[in-house]
């Protein structure tokens, strides 16, 4: 259950042990509390009050809290109670709560496969009609945000917060040192590998132990090689979808890159949770890195003057010569999402829908996200970008708005079980212990539901 590729998720492994212990210790307490009162579980709202569970972690936590506070101040008759959970604890907790019909009114989610799971079990309401009644809510948001909220043609969640695309970062100083230009095609990328290796610089930084970091490469390669339909067929559970020629070609290309020593030595031992992969970039030991847009913030914070002095560069993922995919297609988490629990009372649902409409991405909320360096999913928000982060925000904004389609992070798009199998096989693919064909055979055998 690696998460979403939201900025908070990089923290997840670091705290998982602690949260696991906390849960273990809280379990008996929770059990006795439930046994003694039996009415409301933890985090449940009182009568006439709607509830929402959010994730902790600054600056997002402060923005989420501010939006709830502002909503409550403006709606004295309909209150919303917010509870905050650490990322890993949240994922276990929300599943347990939804399964026990104790879910909060508003269910925060990464969309995709997790949302599909709720829909299949009738735990969230269909919001299609509500969107038809409130066309503004839909039209002001990025179009690329909606596919991950749409299950079988119906919209079950409201996109909110920020877009987190995967970006190819590079170290401008190292490119000047070897006299090279950032790659625009796959062949150029492969040609750069020996150039940097000869100069004693790792071509690409990669935190291979975290596995989802490797997955981002395949997300792009499948799309650039064969277009969106390759993974769409996989997500739809079509037989032998992993054996598509474009899929095999993408898997082969990644192994070519591994064999050419494209990734930093010992990448299988590097974990993303300590940001060691980013450190390789800003310390000038690796030339490029494919990573989520959220690493911009952490490199700015931890990299000394690396970002502020303009040494950090960014480009879209290179095109593949002869590939069927559109090079403008974005990859990553298109937004965060909130769904409406079908178990909530009519009164609670009314409050939640009002919050969806006026509380989420209100003017003040949008300003807050922009000031934090993020790109909220509102059309035209680029007019608010200013200050030193504006060039990067503009790049992210353009990636999201000019993309013809968007690839949702695979482990979010798939159901949790298959997603775990996928990560296992990706790790073996990158360690060259299985061939592309074996990868496809293994994954074809995984039931998609």
């Amino acid at each position: 259950m690696r998460p979403g590729t939201t900025e908070i998720d990089v923290e997840q492994n670091r705290f998982s042990r602690r949260s696991f212990l906390a849960m273990a210790m809280a379990a008996p307490l929770g059990a006795s509390a439930l046994a003694s009162c039996g009415t409301t579980g933890p985090g449940q709202a009182g009568a006439g009050e709607a509830s929402v569970w959010y994730l902790t972690g600054q600056p997002q936590e402060g923005l989420r809290k501010a939006s709830v506070d502002a909503f409550n101040a403006a709606h004295p008759d309909g209150q919303l109670a917010a509870t905050f959970f650490e990322n890993d604890a949240y994922k276990t907790r929300i599943r347990t709560a939804v399964g026990a019909n104790q879910a909060p009114t508003i269910i925060w989610t990464w969309g995709g496969g997790g949302l599909r799971d709720y829909v299949n079990n009738g735990q969230v309401d269909d919001l299609t009609a509500w969107f038809d009644q409130n066309p503004d809510v839909r039209s002001r948001r990025f179009d690329t945000a909606f596919p991950a909220a749409t299950i079988d043609g119906k919209i079950y969640a409201v996109p909110c917060e920020q877009v987190s695309p995967i970006v190819m970062f590079y170290n401008k100083q190292l490119f000047e040192q070897v006299g090279a230009q950032p790659p625009t095609t796959w062949n150029e990328l492969m040609a750069l590998v020996p150039v940097f290796n000869d100069a004693g610089i790792a071509p690409f930084s990669l935190a291979g132990q975290s596995r989802w970091t490797n997955m981002m490469w395949l997300e792009f390669l499948f799309d650039r090689q064969g277009g969106a339909e390759v993974f769409d067929a996989i997500a739809a559970g079509q037989p032998n979808a992993w054996s598509h020629p474009a899929a095999i070609a993408g898997l082969t290309k990644v192994q070519d890159l591994v064999r050419a020593n494209g990734f930093v030595n010992g990448f299988q031992s590097i974990a993303a949770d300590a940001n060691a992969d980013q450190a390789l970039m800003h310390q000038g030991r690796a030339a490029m890195m494919l990573h989520g847009a959220w690493t911009y913030g952490s490199m700015k914070e931890e990299g000394g003057d690396f970002v502020s002095s303009g040494k950090l560069g960014w480009i879209p993922f290179p095109a593949i010569e002869g590939g069927a995919g559109d090079p403008s297609t974005g990859v990553g988490n298109p937004a965060s999402f909130v769904a409406l629990s079908s178990q909530a009372s009519e009164e609670q649902k009314a409050i939640a829908l009002e919050y969806f409409k006026t509380g989420l991405l209100s003017d003040a909320d949008v300003d807050g996200w922009v000031a934090s360096g993020a790109v909220p999913i509102v059309k035209g928000v680029d007019s608010k970008f200013s200050g030193p982060d504006a060039p990067f925000q503009q790049f992210v904004y353009d990636s999201a708005t000019q993309a013809t389609s968007w690839v949702h992070s695979w482990d979010q798009a798939l159901l949790p079980g298959p997603a775990e199998q996928l990560l296992n096989n990706i790790e073996q693919l990158f360690s060259l212990s299985i061939t592309p064909e074996q990868f496809a055979t293994n994954m074809n055998a995984v039931p998609s539901s």
């Binding site: 259950m1 690696r2 492994n13 670091r14 998982s16 042990r17 602690r18 696991f20 008996p28 276990t92 599943r95 347990t96 939804v98 399964g99 799971d117 709720y118 299949n120 079990n121 735990q123 291979g208 132990q209 596995r211 930093v264 030595n265 010992g266 990448f267 299988q268 031992s269 590097i270 974990a271 300590a274 060691a276 450190a279 390789l280 030991r285 949790p416 079980g417 775990e420 199998q421 296992n424 790790e427 073996q428 360690s431 212990s433």
Partner: protein
Amino acid sequence: MTSGSVGARQQGSLSWLVLPALVLFTAFGVIPLIGVLVLSFTSWNGIGEITLIGFGNWVSVLADPALVHSLGVTFLIMALSWAVQTPLSILVGVFIAGQQRYRAVLAVLYFTPLLLSSAAIAITYKALLDPNFGLGASLGIPFLVQNWLGDPVLAIATVVFVVSWQFIPFHSLIYQGAVRQIPASLYEAARIDGAGRVRQFFSITLPQLKYTLITSSTLMVAGSMAFFDLIFVLTVGGPSDATRVLALDMYLRGFRGNMMGPASVIALIIVVVAVLLAMGIQRLGGKDAGESQLEGA
């Protein structure tokens, strides 16, 4: 032994003392175990309907090569860490059992790993073993710059090393206590017979430590069945599934893959294997359990 009637009366009047432990054990041991047993016959993803599917999970898990692999990894780590820890613990234990002052000082140093939690140890070693920013790279020692956690064989070795580093102090402490219980008269007699230090160690110290060895081994073996935290933080079972021990397999299937049925099957397998192992070790030393080699007993 006092008379039977007094013993019986005491037993009758004091049996309520068992109650708190019994209640806690039932609430947190027996009842969850029954729950897991029931879940092992169902299909449940954590949020949907719980449906009975009979022996489906048992058949699929027992036929899954991943289970054999996890069992193999578990036993391999168990055997290797026993083989590394036991001799070292005995040697350290015997050494610090001596009364010299410098040994007491060293003993304090040896015991520091006991103060650290598994999670802290795992995070620290992960940082120390990082190929780019770890100990080897920082101090410029090429030998230490290895793919410690990324190579299947090295990863197992690393796990065994870290486990041993963490638990040798604990077992040394047990052996230290046991060595100090050995009557000095045995050594005096041996010296009179002309036995040297090495001969004394193998002929007196080791045989006298037999029951301590069994206790320590039971703790090691039962402990390795439940290994989770350290490996979870250090490798998450990786690379690929090279260090995916049973307990980790159970967690990943249950809480990452959301397949509670198969995870419950593995939980029960862990319980059965651990109980069998513990019984087996007890039996190894159990034939003459009533016999004591202590002087005068």
